[in-house]
Subunit: 453 residues, 2 copies
Amino acid sequence: MREKETSGSVLRKRTLITRGSPQQVLVFGFALLVAVGTLLLCLPISIAEGHTLSFHNALFTATSAASVTGLVVVDTGTTFSYFGQAVLLLLIQAGGIGFMTLTTMIALMIGKKISFRERLVLKESLNQNSTEGIVRLIRKVILYSLVIEAAGTVLLALHWMEEMPPGKALYHGLFHAVSIFNNSGFDIIGGFAPYVGDFYFNVVSIVLIFLGSVGFIVLSDLIDYPKNRKLSLHSKVVLSFSGVLIAVGAVIIFIFEFTNAASTGALTVAEKLLSSLFQSTSLRSSGTSTLDIQSLRQATQFFMVIMMFIGASPGSTGGGIKVTTFAIMTAAFVTMVRGKQDVDLFRSRISKDLVYKAITVMFVGLFIVVSATIILSFSENQPFLTVLYETTSAFGTVGFSAGLTSQLTVFGKTVMILLMFAGRLGPFTIALALQSKAKKDLYRYPEGKIILG
Amino acid sequence: MREKETSGSVLRKRTLITRGSPQQVLVFGFALLVAVGTLLLCLPISIAEGHTLSFHNALFTATSAASVTGLVVVDTGTTFSYFGQAVLLLLIQAGGIGFMTLTTMIALMIGKKISFRERLVLKESLNQNSTEGIVRLIRKVILYSLVIEAAGTVLLALHWMEEMPPGKALYHGLFHAVSIFNNSGFDIIGGFAPYVGDFYFNVVSIVLIFLGSVGFIVLSDLIDYPKNRKLSLHSKVVLSFSGVLIAVGAVIIFIFEFTNAASTGALTVAEKLLSSLFQSTSLRSSGTSTLDIQSLRQATQFFMVIMMFIGASPGSTGGGIKVTTFAIMTAAFVTMVRGKQDVDLFRSRISKDLVYKAITVMFVGLFIVVSATIILSFSENQPFLTVLYETTSAFGTVGFSAGLTSQLTVFGKTVMILLMFAGRLGPFTIALALQSKAKKDLYRYPEGKIILG
Ligand SMILES: [K+]
Ligand SMILES: [K+]
């Protein structure tokens, strides 16, 4: 009871101070984070000796870090000092776990404004007592995130100690554990290509990426699983669809690149499998790669565009239209093919409102990616697929590059900065920001028919 | 009353003979048409002197004609004799008006299996007395189609008489009036590039293309408009969304190509406007072009891909996911942004079933285009956008070529043949063919929530 009041008053105070909707707080806070990050990166103390950084590149890097995208215009490991790298790590932590906490809070807070029946549905579907206990939930997940990051740090540092001094290995372990768990795509070792066949590194990274990309609710559900022995509907949907997407992605990459000498062609079959699985896990949000994206086949790159567009889970460190949006659209498709009336997922009915929202999220996502692709097709002198790949990667805050980012004009960089910003906010938040005050429908029009096909 | 019985017994007999669903009749009839066309084109009498035609190219051409696509692997004007061109014209007529009649009949026949209330909705929304009067409706629209084609023949022949002998002008007028009204994309004069600034030709063609692409129901509605003074919901949606898409397309093409010396750059502003409007009208299905598609900018080509995917109207001579599907998705987007409960179009409520069906149609369309694009990215050694352009053009039975069709491997031609076939059937018919017997929902699952963004 005390918990509930505390949580309530904190939320009320925050809203009073900013006099804005939660979405506006999100946009404003995110912009502030990028601004502070840019200023800090512009300080001489952030730059390694013998290097320089333009304001535009500082802004690009800060946005890329705060949006946990990982597209880079300068090499992170050599351009930045330890101080600069620490700034990046804080931006990644704030933009990853911090943002993830905030968006989940907003999603759960919706429970405050809805009817009692809907609140029950929300409680049942998310295993959460709606706004009650939000503060406790958040405290718990931040704690566990830090524990996962700490474990990752140790596991990676132990591995790197074999090839570098302990202090450096620990630093590398810390940087990359935080970077990989937050799906940031940043690294300070010039890429992970040398680790393409390293089983230990691959497995640790896959687990870190996966835990970061499933999102807050699922993480909390997984943590409580040994106690509760049940998963929420939301977690079931996220875990099953993510699992299928990862498996399909791994198989496709494995087959498509099997004979490509420039990528996995020269590897053993076991290494091919490992790198395909790693790439597929990393694909929908992380951006950590052991392969050279530019050398992948066109068909593989196009397939990756689709997966990057789908993206990770809501309230996670990842972007895209989200795996739940994809799940609902798939379920609507199955509904029609099976000749049923209701859209069902795991023996739960998905309301038509949620389906319409999924359409909206997809629409907003498509509009952003298509517009940016058309604009950059004009401004940057590059093949179409290279442009499409990069815009989708930025929108999905993935960070894989097919070669455009390193060649961007100043105008092109500006478009990409806006894309990463919009991508981290996500199409749902953007759609909500577009939304006018919900009006109660006072009347219904009579039903009308249109022919479809 | 007599009319009703006649119509009913005709339909019952057809179903008895084939012992199949209307969709299966459609697929079988279409396949038969392609087969007969291929055999006829393989006859020596079909080929012009000094030319040859492989079986594969005959199959490709017959499919392209019967599906009113217009992608060509040989030059129609020089390769085929008058007999061969007559075969093509009959294939185009059967695949255009014939197929359009059949699909509309199926859409209206749905009225036979549904409840009285739903039948009333259908009647009101389509201005049609459901299955009653179907035969009369079809007789009327075929008659008017032939009248439009005859008028087009005269108008075009008169124009061509200025530059060729009357007999040849009349033949050219007939071939192109039928070809353009059916949105077939075929021509026997080696392309319409010389007519890019020809105001008369452009206006006549735009009217023919538009009337052919709006579909049966709208055509019938337009014909009855002077008498009824009202349009059905279906017609309102088709006409308004087609109008907006044509206008937006014209503006985008006008702007994007303004300074492109290889396309409209050298034209006067009036000619630029005219060719942009022509191209935009032709874009979503016709495939008749006064510009060289290959010389258009990447951004323009990508924009065209989206428009070709959306396509023309249901029950028309065009393809794509259909403008009504796009309209419903747009309306669902607007619903959510306005914070409303129902999807409305022109003061009519669109049922959730129809919205789910629209999602299904889009899903099937995306799946077909994406799969074909990935396959042809492997088999054909071409830039990605060239492949994507061609697969979308074939799926939308548009017929514009960015250069791939003339370079296709035999395997690639096979994929394109299947694409044109599937494109003419349309994603809705394919989705219906996938559908299992509609089961009455005997239970509903409790509602569940998932987080989207
Ligand atoms: K990333
Ligand atoms: K066509």
